[in-house]
């Protein structure tokens, strides 16, 4: 199994605008798209990751199958015209695909480099894939990606130095409101990112956090964490009259707050400024809100640009983190190569054992009565001859002195020992 068979296709916040990503984000959960993915011809294993910043598909393809022709159209569906695929899509294979996944898991490819959420999202995605879509290679790859992420986190300062979305949000809020004391925060939807932002704002001493959630029970749980209160989604308009900072992250497929909803609210607020942070994909808030007076709306892409400003401090840590990723990519490659060699090694051993067995069976009856001890000694001797004889070929197979010779090695051994029909 040469490593070229791992293929990765994806779009992320760097290549694709939010408006397009919104259309690609899965709203129906992982199961259905995963099963469609595995059912694609030539697809042995599959993994799918969908977050608000990226959609990534990893497949292990059968040899000689042109995945380029089918996976992109799976990914984009009807959202994008085929001519435009290349504009948004990146695709990697083999080592590059592994490297990319490790970069993503280690949060080096994130909108906010070093944020820890992405690892949780990959684990969640893997939980769905592991029930059937992922096979031996992807299982190993994903587990490896978790350990790479952990290594990067413990060996570099990238996580602690992470300037998060919530940090950017706080910066902006301060430029709008000055001090954040006695400001009221309203969370719409109970996403992880919203939680983080709210936590950061609590740290700035905001007066109150209210949580409006579709399921009140979840809202209550979250609200309790911030010693705030939970409100029903129907009360949203009323809450908007009071709130100063609104963080929206619902999973709604449509805009939940329109420009026209907000006009009367602004009158009721007597034009008190309000800061909207929309971290949902698809977007929750009408982009035109930003054009209203005293309303400031930032969506996830805008925050990205804000974060871009203070990125340089993390560059150094990112370099050492990248080194870890490179290292681990190489290790994974070795494992994969090992995987490719394994069947041949096993065949070699089997062949040796079979010969020993056959020769013993032929010789033993001729030797007449032998004690159990003598019999054991003979068996041991033949096994030792066999393994000593196989030692050099096995060493040759396992040696990883040069890349890209694995296939050639396998071929030589198979030819020399006459395995060509047994394995391909």
């Amino acid at each position: 199994m040469p490593s070229e068979m791992i293929r990765l296709y994806g779009v992320n916040h760097k290549t694709t605008p939010l408006a397009v990503r919104e259309q690609l984000a899965l709203s129906s959960g992982y199961e259905e798209p995963l099963s469609r993915l595995v059912a694609l011809p030539g697809c042995r294993e599959a993994f799918l990751l969908s977050t608000c910043n990226r959609v990534e598909v990893i497949v292990v393809a059968e040899h000689g199958v042109d995945m380029d022709a089918i996976v992109p159209s799976f990914l984009f569906g009807d959202a994008v015209h085929p001519d435009k695929y290349s504009e948004y899509l990146y695709n990697y294979q083999g080592d590059e695909a592994v490297h990319h996944l490790f970069m993503v898991a280690a949060s080096l490819d994130s909108m906010i480099v070093g944020e820890s959420q992405i690892l949780g999202q990959i684990k969640e995605a893997y939980r769905h894939a592991s029930t059937g879509a992922a096979g031996p290679i992807l299982n190993k790859l994903l587990h490896k990606s978790f350990s790479v992420a952990k290594r990067v986190r413990t060996e570099t300062k990238i996580g602690s130095a992470a300037v998060s979305i919530s940090y950017a949000a706080v910066e902006l809020a301060r430029k709008i409101f000055g001090g954040l004391q006695n400001k009221k925060v309203l969370l719409i939807g109970a996403g992880e990112m919203a939680e983080l932002a709210a936590e950061n704002l609590m740290g700035q001493g905001v007066a109150e956090v209210a949580v409006a959630n579709r399921t009140l029970a979840n809202g209550v749980v979250l609200a309790r964490r911030f010693r705030g209160r939970a409100v029903a989604l129907d009360e949203l308009m009323l809450e908007l009259e009071q709130a100063d900072i609104v963080i929206s992250s619902t999973g709604a497929s449509d805009v939940i707050l329109h420009c026209d909803d907000m006009r009367p609210i602004m009158r009721a607020r007597r034009n008190k400024p309000i800061f909207f942070i929309d971290i949902a994909v698809p977007r929750d808030l009408d982009p035109a809100l930003n054009e209203l007076e005293n309303i400031y709306l930032y969506d996830i892409d805008d925050l990205n640009n804000v974060v871009e400003m203070n990125k340089s401090g993390r560059e150094r840590e990112a370099i050492s983190a990248r080194r870890i990723v490179d290292e681990e990519t190489l290790k994974f490659r070795n494992w994969l190569d090992g995987l490719a060699v394994n069947p041949t090694i096993a065949a070699l051993r089997r062949k040796g054992e079979a010969i020993c067995q056959a020769e013993l069976e032929r010789t033993l009856p001729r030797l007449g009565d032998l004690s159990v001890q003598q019999r054991k000694a003979l068996e041991k001797m033949s096994a030792a001859i066999c393994s000593k004889f196989l030692h050099d070929p096995l060493c040759y197979m396992k040696s990883d002195n040069h890349r890209d010779q694995t296939a050639a090695k396998i071929q030589i051994i198979q030819k020399v020992f006459g395995f060509e029909d047994e394995h391909s």
Partner: protein, 276 residues
Amino acid sequence: MIGEISYLLFQLVLAASFLSAAAYVVFFISRREQVRTIARTILLLSGLLQTAYILSRYFLAGYTPITSQHEAVVFFAWSVTWAYLSFRWRYTVKNFGTFVSILVVLLLLVAALVSREVAPLPPALQSWWLPVHASVAVLSYGFLALAFCGGFMYLIQEWELKSKRLGYFFVRLPSLDSLDQLNRHCLTIGFVFLTLGIITGSLWARQAWGAYWQWDPKETWSLITWLLYAAQMHQRLTVGWRGRRAAIMAIVGFLSVLFTLWGVTFLLGGAHSYAQ
């Protein structure tokens, strides 16, 4: 003798205010705290020198030096400077000094370019109302000028936030809220003084000309200015006009102030025209 001291003082005022503006600009660019301390000290010095210069003019002329173009503008700069320094005493608004000190320099440059001749006071203006009316009016201009600077800064910062291009000014300018408060604070004080200025002027007019109001161009334009500010105060109190609109109104109002100060004199004439 006094004439020479007075001349020298004006040169010093120009130099000091120019230096303070330059230091404030350096602070604006470099954001180094020590530079700001230096800039503030020089601005305070400039304020003191301006006071000294106005006193010297008083002794030179023998009446409140606010009747010629030059004197009025110096008085204007003086009131902006001291309005700022008094404001500073209560609030800090990041980098506000930069904008104010530049405005002060611009005003003083105008003062430097017009005639500094000391003219005899026309009989109509020989009254104790002159210092009262004129200084109240010019004080109001000082605070309205601060509101103008604040409004200007607000518009820049708001543009940065709305356009989401958080660049050079974003980090250097204060929060929108503090600029809005500044606007409210300065407009309230400025408006009170402006009202007083109009009332004192009207009383003086009754005494001097026998009528409270005679639609002299300056009076008319003062009234227009007053109405502009009154409208804004009203809107702020009733429907909560603030932010961008308040900032624009502060700028429009100040342009009207400038027109009342200069435009009327040059274009329309009337009883308030300065001695040329």
